[in-house]
Symmetry: D2
Subunit: 397 residues, 4 copies
């Protein structure tokens, strides 16, 4: 099979529908909430998801069995980028974080009963979920092995204790997937287990919603306390002590789907800037005929194309059933930095307008910054990329 950059027809048609849907239905809704979703506006979510279902673009990533289109990662790359053109797009298609990643995880790891109970309503947009892994220092952060939350055996189940923060979508979630240590001590490479914890559990408390630079994630980011939180044996997701392995199952693709959505954001910013540069003049010429502005425009074109190519490359790798750890790290690091640069350039091209709420750019500017930190900061990825490169080279010597 030769190198091929063609998008298959089915995906291309799906993406075209998404593009129209975003343009005609989603973007007009943006003004209502100004891109702020941290307080979890349920009516908006339901309205958008109903419209997406009507437009035939709902849940493209989910297996047909659960009502989706079953696109592989390459197909998702094309469609999610189209959806990400509006900050509300992923919410509408039910492909926003963390639900999208949780659906993937449940599809891969959950048993039949758990899938019916959790995956089915999640895929249908009836409920929301969260993924409780990150902890305040000195717990699990850029180094997941520092996991400090514990789960100990109690009769008929487990008792979970620990503090989590930056748990996206926790406020309003019907259930949490909680990562807790069932053996070993913080710093050990193994010993983690995933638990499904229902929102009603008295041992699960939302301490506060954290104010952050970004405000576009539905339900925001919460600090969550597991305080003597008792769950049954049926709450174990997959097998005991295999949590870190499952986290990789979730995180690899989740990093890429993040990239897809954010690439849509970059394209949006680019288009806003191009539209502005065509009509705004300085020194007697349209901005887009001034060399320094052309340099900003060209750099963003190059950045976006390179980001997409790396992203597709990583998706292809995972679609072949390979782990693709290096490709995923490279794509995540590069795309997250590209998205920031593209939005920053768009702001600069638009000048005062770019930093005012009269254009969507200042909102996008706030939203994209954390992406260089979420899902592994660039430094952690670079460290891993360098180590793998050194190892790969050593194997050839």
């Amino acid at each position: 099979m030769p190198i091929d950059f063609a998008v298959d027809e089915n995906t291309a048609r799906f993406a075209e529908r998404v593009r129209e849907f975003v343009r005609d239905v989603v973007i007009p809704e943006e003004q209502a909430c100004d891109g702020v979703l941290h307080d979890g506006p349920e009516p908006l979510r339901q309205r958008l998801q109903r419209a997406a279902r009507d437009a035939g673009v709902f849940a493209p990533h989910v297996a047909p069995r659960w009502g989706g289109a079953g696109l592989d990662l390459r197909g998702q790359a094309v469609v999610f980028e189209a959806a990400g053109y509006s900050l509300l797009g992923p919410l509408a298609l039910n492909i926003a974080a963390p639900d999208e990643g949780n659906m993937h995880l449940l599809a891969e790891v959950a048993d039949e009963r758990q899938q019916h109970r959790y995956l089915a309503p999640l895929a249908a947009g009836e409920i929301r979920s969260c993924f409780a892994m990150t902890e305040p220092a000195p717990g699990a952060g850029s180094d997941p092995r520092a996991l400090a939350t514990t789960a100990v055996r109690v009769p008929g189940g487990w008792r979970i204790d620990g503090r989590k923060w930056f748990i996206s979508g926790a406020d309003g979630a019907a259930f949490a997937i909680c990562m807790a240590r069932t053996s070993g001590v913080p710093g050990d490479a193994g010993g983690a287990t995933m638990f499904l914890v229902d929102a009603g559990n008295p041992g699960l408390k939302i301490v506060r919603n954290i104010t952050t630079l970004d405000e576009g994630l539905f339900g925001g980011h919460s600090e969550v306390l597991f305080d003597g939180c008792v769950v049954g044996d049926d709450a174990v997701l997959g097998e005991v002590d295999r949590g870190f392995a499952y986290a990789q199952v979730r995180l690899g693709p989740a990093r890429l789907t993040h990239c897809m959505r954010w690439l849509g954001v970059a394209r949006r910013a680019r288009d806003v800037a191009l539209d502005r540069a065509a009509v705004r003049s300085a020194f007697g010429r349209p901005l887009d005929e001034l060399g320094m502005v052309q340099q900003l425009i060209a750099d963003s074109e190059i950045d976006i194309e390179a980001a997409r190519a790396l992203l597709w490359r990583a998706c292809w790798e995972l679609d072949q059933g390979r782990p693709g750890a290096q490709e995923t790290s490279i794509a995540k690091t590069f795309v997250s930095e590209v998205v920031h640069r593209v939005v920053d350039r768009a702001v600069q091209i638009c000048g005062a307008l770019g930093i005012s709420a009269d254009a969507p750019l200042s909102r996008l500017y706030r939203e994209v910054r954390p992406f260089r930190i979420y899902d592994g900061p660039s430094e952690t990825h670079r460290w891993a990329i360098a180590r793998r490169a050194s190892k790969a080279r050593a194997a050839l010597r």
Copy 2:
């Protein structure tokens, strides 16, 4: 006189008082308003300015005749940086934009009567002011000669008509200094006049307060309409048709005082990051012992030192009574980009904390972005810098 980087004793002592004042009085006030000053919290302003007066650090830039310490620009560079360490510091010392620049302009250009009426209470912090120059496209923006607001002769005075936006501090200001075209057409290099317009004038209307990425400027940025706004002959600041020249009188130093204050912001971000990097560990070592973090730290050290050196250089130039246009453009461009980079690196070092409101960084991140656009976008300055360099070289050929 040899090259000398020593700060004179008087300034050094003043700066030390400011540092203590910021640490002990100003920073504890930050939480109250979370750095948001766009809605112009008067009680806070008055409380802070009273405290600054008590601490002997009020209005360091104003001539002793008007109650200040009469520091030259080099002295201001040292003191304003110390004040800028908190976003509230400049407000407390009455050295925030746009009042600080307006005081300078009035001291240079206003007649005795105007100085008593406008400068005296402004220097005392009794009133606030604004500077109404920037216009929506296609008016005066990065190219000031595009000025479209007009002032035409009427019996006993002038009638001003035009729309301004991004007029900082307009909401609540006791008077505006309005730039209007009294001869020529938009695009002409001359023909502007400055007018002092009192807040009560029925022809002066605040249309709206613009929502912007930054929120730390007292009173925010407004859209302002001059609609058949009639003023007397005594409202003319300086001479008719010399407005562009006066704008340079104001803008040169104002660019530098902006740099001074923002350099304080950069130092604050740097310190927050260093404090975090000393106590947060990853992979078994404190962050500040990890090479990639050390690179971020070192790059910010270099950036800050270079920014300060260029800033002092430009201040010295202006203190010698020279225009220093090239030095000012260079300092403004470089410092504004340094400040952005330093805050961005600090956010990255602090990770999730850096983008949450638990640390001041996400606030600073929002505040500093517009600085690469305000007071002339980097592109306009680079264009001017290149032209001057080409001309200077041609003169030697």
Copy 3:
């Protein structure tokens, strides 16, 4: 057909043969000439090409009819990168500039007779050629339309007059493809014609060989004078006045094959640095465990992967029969800058060794710099990229 990054088996096997050939045969020859090919060492060229023929890796890009493997651009991308791992590799495979591009041009545009006379021996490595387009200022440079060399009708043919420079491989070439203006004036978008000029023509003079930073191109770069150079009608390549269009036929793929070869250079530099970083220690640890070095390593990994992905993307575009002007410009600009950065980082990692001739890096460092200028400087490409982006966006408004 879905997005696919797999290399087809035939190409993969060919590339593997090339890798072995470069490692076992070509690299050992490097010391002999220290990478310097400007003086055109014929015995080395013949020895290498014979060895390549023996290894079954000669002329992979040429149609089977002329003795090659007929790889499309995607196949060339894989194979040329493998060959580029040594500066001598492309020479050995007969895929070095400018011959490789000339073969492509002749295959596309020359008539049967011309192909037998020029293409056949060129493809067989029996002769060499050059492409005479670039002129000293104010002639054809980054703006080809400035073409000043003229060809005027004389009985039975044409007389060519003009000065060319940076004509790679001219010294020792059996023929030149000369670009001359047959109608219009410098600055016009059309009016150029290509002529085949034999080396023996008394009107074709090599004025001098230009000393340049790079020294790895066989035969170097010459200044060439067409001085009353008379050729017959059969010297016209393709049709009169269509020279600019043919230049695009040549330049598009030629830019990409340049990128392929240089990507091999980047990989070589990367490997040299990784090998060094594994054995050299500082402060008690191998270099490749120090964070700042890891950052250099990771950045080069990301750069190389992104460069290759963009390159393949552009090759695919051209293989579909589309012009791919935007994709080609993007790939050329990005790859040329990546190659520079990767070599520069490798030099830095290797320290004093990196700048000495004990390692190949200082040679590579010199060779890669001009690539950001040759084949259109980055600024010209960025200008074109921006204009196309603006136009594409305008078409959607």
Copy 4:
């Protein structure tokens, strides 16, 4: 004493003489040697130094007692930059590395007898010298404590054994200052001693002259072997075991004088590019009116001004008698990177001319690259800068 950027009159006049001397005498000599000094052309050196003496600009850094002008570091900063405008300038003024640094070291550390024997003829340009510290891996490189060369007591003196490389100016030097370990083992922070070794010593052998990217240092860089090299007690420079401390005495100022000379190179490259951009057109306009070229020009202006300001800052610090380790590291790191960027941009602006020997840029491009490695690679300096910043901040907590 207030912040002051004025150059005192005496220095300004000296610098003006140097500028004229470089323009009228030195630059015309450039063509003769094409900037290549590695083979140590003695007649050229003597001719230039005689001319410098005639012009009253010889040895500005040396104390009047030894025939110089006794400029402090700030004065040297101004004068050396003027001399560095040509690669031959420092040679002419006898302020080239390594002699200039050795003169400083001898003036500070040598006893009266040693000064008469070594410093006097060195300052007069009668002889040359070298500084033998750097060793091949795993010896003293970016980490000087790895010093492996040993000196052991023998009757009446010491026997030195060890291998050095990158010993600049060794070929033709009348004496070497050799750094050898007199106590402890490689890795220890102390235990080094400096020895004065005459060229005739049979234990001192020049193994080879290393081919390097740069070729502009008089005499080049040699690999040197100390092989049972016996010296008397009077060969000890300063005190036994204090060599590392003396190295700092030499290296601090030597880093800055390097920066001064290289800043002259940057200015030269800048001027060549400005001259070219004024006369070369593209797309119908002079290059210096094209936005992207203006950006290159402006960035170099900013870079040069920032580099000079940081350099002066560090010089002032050392002139106050303070160690200035942080200021020196910051200046060295920043200036070395600026010089590279400025030359690189100049090459890009000049296009094909920039990489040919028809302009001096390709020579400068080769010369400046090693400066990011010599005198401590940027990474080592950044590591030190970060550590000092962390410590300084910790002291305030």
